[in-house]
């Protein structure tokens, strides 16, 4: 694919460690926005954004409703809200019913972003003990985007990546450090 217009990442148990291996590969000038859904216990909103900000060069913020997506920035879904991407490439939040017992849900982010960015999107599904994200990643592939699944053998909990692999064949299956390299290389393309 050519240089991506946006990246979406989802994960659950163990995903924070995986992100710590992925995100440092991306420079502050990364040419696309990145949106992230991580299943965490609701309660402490800004901690995740702060934590990730310390571990990468990207600008990190908790997504606000109607906030336009900008390159070089990582948008983290706030706890207890779904994060969606509108076609005008702004963030949208919702308090609709949890999906796969999760709010935010990875499927909700992935499916909305797939409609907004189509072939310009890269979806990354990480470790986790829930099937959230598998369907959304499949949708990204169906709309022409690239799909990346964390190699289950490197996952703290392989259920989430395995659920995706059962549904379809992704563009690539990689260990976290290699996902970082892969995304960085895509970003360097013309």
């Amino acid at each position: 694919m050519t240089r991506p217009e946006a990246i979406v990442i989802g994960g659950s148990a163990g995903a924070l460690e995986a992100l710590t291996a992925i995100l440092p590969a991306l420079p502050a000038t990364y040419p696309a926005p990145i949106a992230l859904v991580l299943h965490v216990l609701s309660g402490k909103p800004s901690l995740l954004a702060d934590l990730l900000a310390q571990r990468c060069a990207l600008k990190v913020c908790e997504a606000m409703d109607k906030q336009p997506l900008e390159k070089g920035t990582l948008y983290v879904a706030p706890p207890d809200y779904h994060l969606l991407i509108e076609r005008d490439r702004c963030c949208a939040l919702s308090v609709d019913t949890p999906v796969h017992f999760s709010r935010p849900s990875i499927d909700v982010l992935f499916e909305s972003a797939a409609e907004a960015y189509r072939a310009g999107l890269v979806g990354v599904l990480l470790t986790g003990g829930n099937e959230d994200g598998a369907r959304g990643l499949e949708r990204i592939g169906a709309r022409g985007g690239a799909t990346v699944v964390q190699d289950p053998s490197t996952a703290m909990v392989p259920y989430m990546p395995e659920s995706a692999l059962k549904r379809f064949t992704p563009t690539t299956v990689l260990a976290p450090a290699d996902i970082g390299i892969y995304l960085a290389q895509l970003g360097g393309r013309p």
């Binding site: 909103p45 908790e62 997504a63 606000m64 409703d65 109607k66 906030q67 706030p78 809200y81 779904h82 969606l84 991407i85 509108e86 076609r87 949208a92 939040l93 919702s94 308090v95 609709d96 019913t97 909700v108 499916e111 909305s112 409609e115 907004a116 189509r118």
Partner: protein
């Protein structure tokens, strides 16, 4: 922007049909959530396309009532975002206390959790007897649930934790009667809550209020409709009245930010200038 897909066209036609037939206006709702909700409704109605759904709801009012449940499914909890209620208690109510009587508007009350929370808050501060709470929504089914004030018992563990964190003065259990499966909120609260049908999208100002609480409603609107709704809230507020939004909402991206001042910024409480 790319060419509209057949589904985009179908969705627009559905929303137009709903507006013309039933006068509910979802045409300026934010699209991503709306598309998701309609996709869920397709599964429920077991129809293959939005066109089929449109045909059904156009000819069957009961199907429309059912669809309305899918189009307005936001879920709240009592004392959701406890610090919001704590700030109302500690910073807003001291102002409202100076009025002989005052009115509170819970706009987009859905199934009523916030309206009942507001009533408890006012009762504990000794203000319920001189206040009236308007709780409005567009979904008659949700309003009926709201008016009943009955919620599944397992939800009360979270409600109680929120209540305590919000600075509640008693135990939440003193405000509801528990049966084996459900909690029924205290009837004495209900005399001060008026549940009624009102749309931020199509209706106008119906009362002057001192506090308007409209949380996690604006996130479902596009920018134009947000501007309309915030304008309506502003016009309903008396000068120096208060507006509370959801914890991830902001007036910053609306046309009306200059007519409000931050009052408790971290809890999204604004004061009308």
């Amino acid at each position: 922007m790319s060419e509209p897909t057949p589904e985009d066209v179908e969705l627009n036609v559905l929303l137009d049909a709903i507006y013309q037939r039933y006068h509910y206006d979802f045409r300026k709702y934010s699209e991503a959530s709306l598309r998701r909700r309609v996709a869920t409704a397709l599964l429920h109605f077991r129809v293959a396309s939005i066109s089929r759904l449109q045909e059904k709801v156009l000819h069957e009012p009961r199907a429309f009532t059912e669809l309305l449940g899918f189009l307005t499914v936001q879920v709240s909890d009592m004392f959701r975002d406890p610090t919001y209620f704590k700030s109302l208690r500690e910073q807003v109510l001291p102002y409202l206390r100076t009025y002989p009587t005052f009115k509170v508007w819970v706009a987009g009350c859905s199934t009523g959790e916030e309206a009942w929370s507001m009533a408890i808050l006012l009762a504990e501060e000794g203000l319920l007897d001189r206040s009236l709470i308007y709780a409005t929504d567009i979904n008659p089914e949700a309003l009926r649930t709201a008016e009943e004030g009955v919620y599944a018992l397992e939800r009360f563990a979270l409600f109680s934790a929120n209540y305590q964190a919000s600075g509640g003065k008693r135990s939440l259990s003193s405000w509801y009667h528990a049966s084996s499966r459900a909690g029924l909120l205290d009837r004495s609260l209900k005399k001060h809550i008026l549940f009624s049908d009102h749309s931020l999208a199509t209706d106008s100002v119906f009362a002057e209020v001192e506090l308007a609480s409209c949380r996690n409603v604006l996130i479902y609107f596009d920018k134009d409709l947000q501007n309309r709704a915030v304008g309506l809230l502003r016009d309903s507020l008396r000068r120096k009245g208060f507006l509370g939004l959801g914890s991830k909402e902001s007036l910053r991206f609306t046309a009306h930010s200059a007519t409000f001042a931050d009052f408790v910024p971290q809890d999204r409480i604004y004061q009308r200038l």
